[in-house]
Amino acid sequence: MKTFKKGGVHPPEKKTTNNCPVVEMPVPDELRIMLSQCIGVPAKPIVKPGDSVACGQMIAEAGGFVSAPVHSPVNGTVKKIEPTRTPQGIWQDSIVIETDKENPVSFPTPRSDGEVNDLSPDDIISIVGDCGIVGLGGATFPTRVKLSVPKGKTAEFVLINGAECEPCLTCDDALMRRDADKIVKGTLLIMKATGAKAGMIGIEENKPEAIKSMSDAAGKYSNLDVVTLKKKYPQGGEKQLIYAITGRTVPAGSLPIETGCIVDNVATAYAVYDAVYNRRPLTERILTVTGPEVPNPGNFLVKNGTSLLEIMKFAGGVPEDTGKIIAGGPMMGRAVSSLESSATKGLSGLVVLPESTSLRKPEGPCIRCGRCVSVCPMGLEPYLLMLQADVKRWDDMSQSGVLNCLECGCCTYSCPANRPLLDMIKLGKQELRKIK
């Protein structure tokens, strides 16, 4: 079974929701749609308070090259454009839409297979761009930019990331079990858009049902392959996945296209399918709400802009014993400081940790056991980087290759002295970015 070579850890899976089907969450009365939903420039609103908007209508256009437009997930009226707190509590502009529950949502007529076949690669890319599709694995990089293969490079493989190596999260698993056919069609569209000859879907061994349904769906196409991967974190990291599936190594500091690979998440492939076949922009996504104390954990289909509190209520309410809520998985997700904020395209889950497990244990001295070095998937020396960050030697950190760090957290996870290695490494990266 394939996997990546260097480093990695095996955190307990805790995928308690892996058998939950996708449940559609009822549309809330009010949606607060953030304007900044992807890496890059925030979108620019093109509606005014008082405007009535239809489901799927663009309400904010891309603000620059690396940016994606935002669409209304519902029929309704724009109430106001005002700042809303992000899950991290920072104020950012958002469009507040009051849902109009009287008017039923009418969906556009889907494109037929023939129509889709007639689309040129550029057509597909522009549809993907217009529909506001971003990488749904969590990085939220605009997919339009990713699919536009730079001049002089060729895409050989499209790798679809169904590894879902993060503990607790099962949203990709649920999607693969439900919509394998559509993911496969989305993959073929991405291949067509980029000119890649073959597509490979990497799934970790702990999702047998997803592997089966995806294999069945992909079996019809000779240029598609489902690759079963050994369970190891961070398998879903772009460079790790490329190595695991193709055995190629992305040069340090380069993009995956250097090895002829384009990596997209399964949810992104699904969104591409939805956009091209059904003419529906990206306005909703599946996210996992889980945690030992959550009354009704599950995989929910949630409209973009739904408040996090509503989502928690749908899962049975915020448990009494809540110490920490994580947006995303427990290894790379970010802690939520305010539930007033709303769901964005990049939110793959809400993990609620009880108080007893939410606090870090006291930090001890480094005993130089070398575990951080042996688990680092990028071959860095986290203990050394932390020492350098402690004395603010940013240049030395750069020399030690800190910018290669993918912030997977394996070092902090495995440190027996509970040292905040990743905290200091992130600080170093931040300072280096400032210097540049």
Binding site: Q88, G89, I90, R334, A335, S337, P420, L427
Partner: protein, 274 residues
Amino acid sequence: MIIGISILVLGVIGVIAAIILFIAAKRFYVYEDPKIGEIEELLPGANCGGCGFSGCHAFAVECASAKSMDGLVCTGVNSEGMKKIADIVGLTPVANQRKVAIIKCSASCENRDPRNHYDGVRSCAIEASLYQGESDCIYGCLGCGDCVAACPFGAMQLNEGEELPHVDLDKCTGCGKCVEACPRNLCELSPIYSDRPIVWVACANRDRGPVAMKECGVACIGCTKCRKVCPNEAPDIKSFIAHIDQEKCISCGECIKACPRHTIKSTADPISAD
């Protein structure tokens, strides 16, 4: 006999080593202006960079070769010290407008209601990159003391239970290290005046009044009362926050009395120029 040989051998080795050392000293001799050393003696040696050069030595080198003292001011020495330095190089010293750091946040622990609990390295830079901070105010002091750690003169301190830095105005030289260190840009260098204390608005919250009021007990809400009572119209309100124009301020203290949020602060006395 053996002793004689030993002495002889060691003596010869000693002489050879001395010759090598002599040649090396001549061969690799680097001339350094003796003035540089003299100037460096007078400098604080904190390498704070407040002068704009990479450290005290670089400043001394610059002074020694300078044609005029324009722009050459060490924030760490008083005017008498600058005069001595100028004397060494035979130039006239430029008047040193002394500056001190002021903190544009006054939210000690009881004023900012912690909504969450930060668990990680005590570093403002990390906390600021992570999220809003422990209170609801996304502009205010995080209380981890990056500025305190950055101060080369030991002029800043965090008081127990308050988590807000205080500047010891006697020790502060206005080098600007804290300004660089603060991720929220709450440290500001303010010129001092011999005849009056500094009065400033100790807040940086740019949220609208009602929001700011909820977020912090001592946040400026942009109510303009300070401007109304000021005889000189020194406070200027922009994006819901007042800023006192030091050129116009006469330190009458009316605004301090009028501020409903107790946000405006003043130093106790005029600060001496040295």
